[in-house]
């Protein structure tokens, strides 16, 4: 198994606050890796950091290349996709166009050719793939404001997959889902892994993460407090403390 994403001593600070504090983390290809932590632990900031939305220090390697200084769109083009907790769909475009934006790459020649005679072919396969994996082909021509919140979540995930990334970071995909929907989401995630896309899942829904992930990191106040397989994490006293809300975790 090759290492897809490796962070070493990754640090994000907001003023004096260390939102992500020296995190070392590895995501192996083909695995479903989870990151959990209580509210405010720095989970979303961690995703923002590796995908290029907040400046970081330390090292972020993707597919062996150092990407920590690159702008967000270049990281996306390298195959590092993400979703948002707040979904952030393109409200002005229909669902299919939402996916097309992610699926299509544009060259200068292609741009000029499009002005004269726009092609319909580019990125078609990727859009179809994403629509099918998440089973939302019937929504293709709808606008984002016409579909339900659950469907919007699927579209948001489909858009991240439409660029055929190597790794997709999912930010709280289970937020607001009930138990059975959460279970169905787990099945979908497994299908995505089977389709050859690695997933880095961030959530505070312990049930989902423990059920579907292969390997789990637990962070609190920006720092890693535990890592391991779901069984190891489940038994870790620090994790139990963090989630039962014990005020101070004694340093050992």
């Amino acid at each position: 198994m090759s290492e897809l994403l490796v962070t070493k001593a990754m640090l994000v600070t907001f003023g004096g606050l260390r939102a992500v504090d020296d995190v070392d983390l590895t995501v192996e290809e083909g695995k479903l890796v989870g990151l959990i932590g209580p509210n405010g632990a720095g989970k979303t900031t961690f995703i923002d950091g590796i995908t290029g939305f907040v400046p970081t220090s330390g090292s972020v390697k993707f597919l062996g290349a150092e990407i920590s200084g690159e702008p967000a769109h270049q990281r996306a083009r390298r195959g590092l996709g993400r979703t948002w907790q707040s979904l952030e769909l393109f409200e002005d475009l229909n669902i299919e166009e939402n996916l097309q934006v992610a699926a299509e790459d544009q060259s200068a020649v292609g741009f000029l050719a499009d002005l004269v005679w726009p092609s319909r072919k580019r990125g078609r396969d990727n859009v179809d793939f994403a629509l099918d994996v998440l089973g939302i082909r019937d929504l293709a021509k709808r606008m984002p404001n016409e579909i339900s919140q659950g469907q919007r979540k699927l579209v948001s995930a489909a858009r991240a997959l439409a660029s055929r990334p190597r790794l997709v970071c999912m930010d709280e995909p289970a937020a607001g889902l009930d138990t059975s929907e959460s279970h169905a989401l787990g099945v979908r995630l497994r299908q995505i892994i089977d389709a050859g896309i690695t997933i880095f899942l961030v959530d505070h829904d312990m049930g989902l993460v423990l059920n579907v992930c292969d390997y789990i990191y637990v962070i609190k106040f920006g720092a890693t407090i535990a890592q391991g397989t779901p069984d190891e994490v489940k038994r870790n006293p620090k994790v139990i403390d963090a989630y039962l809300g014990s005020s101070a975790v004694p340093d050992t």
Binding site: G16, S57, A72, H73, R77, L89, Q100, P118
Partner: protein
């Protein structure tokens, strides 16, 4: 600097990123202080910098800027029309003192339409319906105090009207709509004054209690009047500071800026706060408009409204919240004007154009100030929670049949009509409408597709037009190469403007581009050696494009009646429009078009989807400026010369207005906008058939812009599309077939709501 973390660690990139901006900030401040010191040390420079005229101008700029800050704090509106407010109130006062009349804006009179229709069939003298009053007369010419009191009452009424009629309905609208409404207000106020009094300056009577006697205050030597206005503005600024710092009203306004509930908790309705701030703004602005006009003894409707640019610079320096910093910056910006003018005349090193000093130098500092402040304070991507609320008008994907069949067919139809039916009057109107379509298209690309407001489109067009004149007339370039060279030049300038746009968005970008348009207007278009003065810079065109060419033989047919513009000139405009419409429609259908709209919806998500946000924005500016450049070239060829008046800064606002009226987000909207432009088909029809005078064009344009922003943000084309879809949806509902199972159409749903 922010608090350090307890255990400092090497975080290189962060520190560098932060330190570059802060170093740049200190460099800018340092250079500014050094320049100021240099100016104050040299006695020559000092006397011109601390001159009375500069201080009076600074006082007016400060008042306009204070008004801008007030309305921004009160209701979140950046009022681009505040300079126009100063000018308008100045006119109200001037007329009261001269004639004792309160002039009224032209009011819509339904009878005049009846009159116009009747006049089509019989002579004008036989049928006359009553007109609406143009003024309220208070008897004879007024003395200072009554005129001032009535003007102040007018200011209060104006402030309330602006709040209740325009900006309160727009409270939850996207920033674009608020900017659009303030542009509409700018055009409307200016057009009303031009309609009533023309553009020639009017004499203003002096104030009774101060005179032109010089007072020596050591450093400053200025007249009583000038000292008076400076003191008035400083007192206002101090009062505002006290009001906002120490009273519950100020606290509530500050709270409401963050969260309207905060004001409610303090026992103030946000509505009351916004309205009061509007009134304060118009009173302060209007009062200084009156005083400064009295000092200058004249008033005119073009220059004062443009003082909004230095005023906005000052407001930006004060972060749209600090009255003190705003006032100081405004005075500096006013006081540098006489200094720059003095340097232009007396310094050898000052850039010359011909024998005259390079014009418009005093515009440079405000523009530079805006760019620097925004660049140092801006962010490349909006951060968490700073997503622009509110939506821009929907931008539909043009269907294939429209691009490949309907569009060209329509265009050919229009060409045939232009050739064989229209006389010279309507032919000229058609040509101007076609040119309007081109400029509107350039607005559609930058504002409709990418959501960036550019108020400098006619500056791009003008650069191209004068380039065309130079290349075709002086260098003898053959047609059509000057067009492309001109458009390329416009594009390069557009790229320059795009630089701040990479870190600046929304209203701030509108400010940058507006300042740019004003600077280009003064520095290039008003420069005699470029613009060729009154007759303009001539353009050499081939016979068939030349508007004065009497007739052309085409395929053995004699085309044309010898009247300007020639039929083939109109066809030349038509060709340009068809090509550009086709390209822009394709752009909307292309990958790049989708990326632009994705970016317009959500820059962060677009970046996550692999869209190069900076690159796409730059590209959009380049395309938009290129199209505007083609438009400028076509304007130059269509009238046989490039003339400065076609490209002055108000024209950029006007075309933006008509593009928004037509529909900012689609090619069909640009076409609708083109029909509406001044001198275009719609107004020519109104004028020739219904007798609506041409001065009404801008007034109706400004008013229409305000109404569109409030009532129908999707513009005429969007409104028609929505109605059409509603009809289709209704027809489907009546006919319960398989069609009824189709997903609801977006437009139809909105229409029904």
């Amino acid at each position: 600097m922010g608090a350090r973390s307890p255990t400092p660690r090497p975080s290189r990139r962060l520190d560098i990123d932060r330190s570059i901006t802060s170093i740049a900030r200190w460099v800018v401040v340092g250079v500014g202080v050094a320049l100021l010191g240099f100016v104050l040390v040299s006695s020559d420079y000092r006397d011109n910098f601390l001159s009375g005229s500069g201080i009076a101008l600074g006082a007016l700029v400060a008042a306009i800027a204070l008004g801008v800050v007030l309305t921004y704090r009160g209701s979140g509106v950046v009022n681009l029309a505040n300079g126009a407010v100063a000018m308008y109130v100045g006119y109200v006062y001037t007329v009261l003192r001269r004639d004792g009349d309160l002039f009224l804006p032209p009011l819509p009179n339904p009878l005049s339409v009846v009159e116009g229709v009747v006049h089509r069939f019989q002579t004008h003298d036989t049928f006359k319906l009553p007109d609406l009053p143009t003024k309220i007369s208070f008897g004879a010419a007024m003395t200072f105090w009554p005129a001032l009191v009535i003007s102040l009452l007018f200011c209060i009424a104006l402030g309330l009207a602006l709040h209740f009629l325009i900006f309160r309905p727009l409270r939850t609208a996207p920033p674009l709509a608020k900017v659009v409404a303030s542009v509409g207000l700018f055009l409307y106020l200016q057009a009303v004054v031009v309609r009533r009094f023309g553009i020639t300056p009017r004499a203003v009577k002096p104030m009774p209690f101060v005179n032109k006697k010089q007072i020596d205050l050591g450093l400053f030597k200025l007249s009583q009047e000038q000292l008076f206005v400076a003191v008035v503005v400083l007192v206002f600024a101090l009062c505002l500071w006290i009001l906002f710092q120490w009273t519950r009203f100020g606290l509530a306004t500050r709270a409401a800026a963050e969260n309207e509930k905060g004001a409610v908790v303090l026992g103030f309705s946000p509505d009351f706060l916004a309205g009061t701030n509007w009134v304060l703004s118009t009173v302060i602005t209007g009062l200084l408009g009156i005083f400064v006009a009295s000092i200058n003894s004249t008033i005119e409707p073009i220059v004062i409204p443009a003082l909004i640019v230095p005023a906005l610079t000052a407001a930006l320096v004060g972060s749209f919240s600090s009255f003190g910093r705003t006032t100081v910056a405004a005075f500096v910006l006013g006081m540098q004007v006489p200094l720059i003018q003095y340097l232009g005349v007396n310094s050898d090193w000052f850039p010359k154009s011909g024998n005259l000093p390079f014009p418009g130098g005093e515009r440079l500092l405000p523009l530079l100030g805006i760019v620097l402040v925004l660049f140092l304070a801006g962010h490349a991507l909006p951060t968490r929670g700073a997503i622009i609320s509110g939506r821009l008008p929907f931008s539909p994907t043009p269907p294939r049949w429209a691009i490949r069949i309907a569009g060209p067919a329509l265009a050919i139809g229009a060409g045939v009509v232009g050739l064989f039916y229209f006389g010279p009057g309507y032919r000229g109107a058609l040509s101007d409408s076609l040119i309007g379509i081109i400029i509107c298209l350039s607005v559609v690309v930058i504002t409709g597709f990418v959501g960036q407001i550019s108020l400098a489109q006619m500056a791009f067009a003008g650069i191209s037009a004068f380039m065309v004149s130079k290349l075709s007339f002086e260098h003898g370039w053959p047609f059509p190469w000057p067009i492309f060279a001109g458009a390329l030049a416009a594009m390069l300038v557009g790229l320059l403007v795009a630089l701040p746009a990479l870190r600046v968005r929304g209203v701030n970008l509108a400010i940058v581009t507006f300042a740019f348009a004003v600077a280009v207007d003064d520095m290039i278009f008003k420069n005699q050696s470029v613009s060729g003065g009154y007759n303009g810079a001539p353009v050499k065109a081939p016979a068939w494009v030349n508007p004065d060419h009497p007739s052309t033989h085409f395929l053995g047919l004699k085309v044309g009646d010898g009247k300007q513009p020639s039929v083939t000139t109109a066809i030349f405009c038509l060709i340009a429009v068809v090509v550009l419409c086709y390209l822009v429609a394709n752009l909307r259908r292309s990958t790049t078009g989708r990326q632009m709209l994705a970016m317009r919806s959500n820059e962060r998500a677009a970046a996550a989807a692999g869209v190069n946000v900076s690159g796409t924005k730059t590209l959009a500016f380049a395309i938009s400026a290129f199209i505007a450049g083609i438009g400028g070239a076509v304007i130059a060829y269509r009238s046989g010369a490039a003339t400065a008046d076609k490209f002055d800064y108000t024209k950029s606002l006007v075309f933006f207005a008509f593009a928004y009226l037509g529909g900012i987000s689609s090619v069909s909207g640009a076409i609708a906008g083109g029909f509406l432009v001044a001198g275009g088909l719609v107004f020519t029809f109104l004028q020739q058939s219904l007798g609506v005078p041409s001065e009404f064009t801008l007034m109706l344009g400004g008013l229409g812009l305000i109404l569109t922003a409030i009532l129908n943000p999707e513009g005429i084309a969007g409104g028609l599309r929505r109605d059409g879809m509603r009809l289709v949806a209704r027809a489907r509902a009546r006919r319960p077939t398989a069609d009824a199972a189709l997903p609801p159409v977006r437009g139809a749903r909105e229409g029904a709501a």
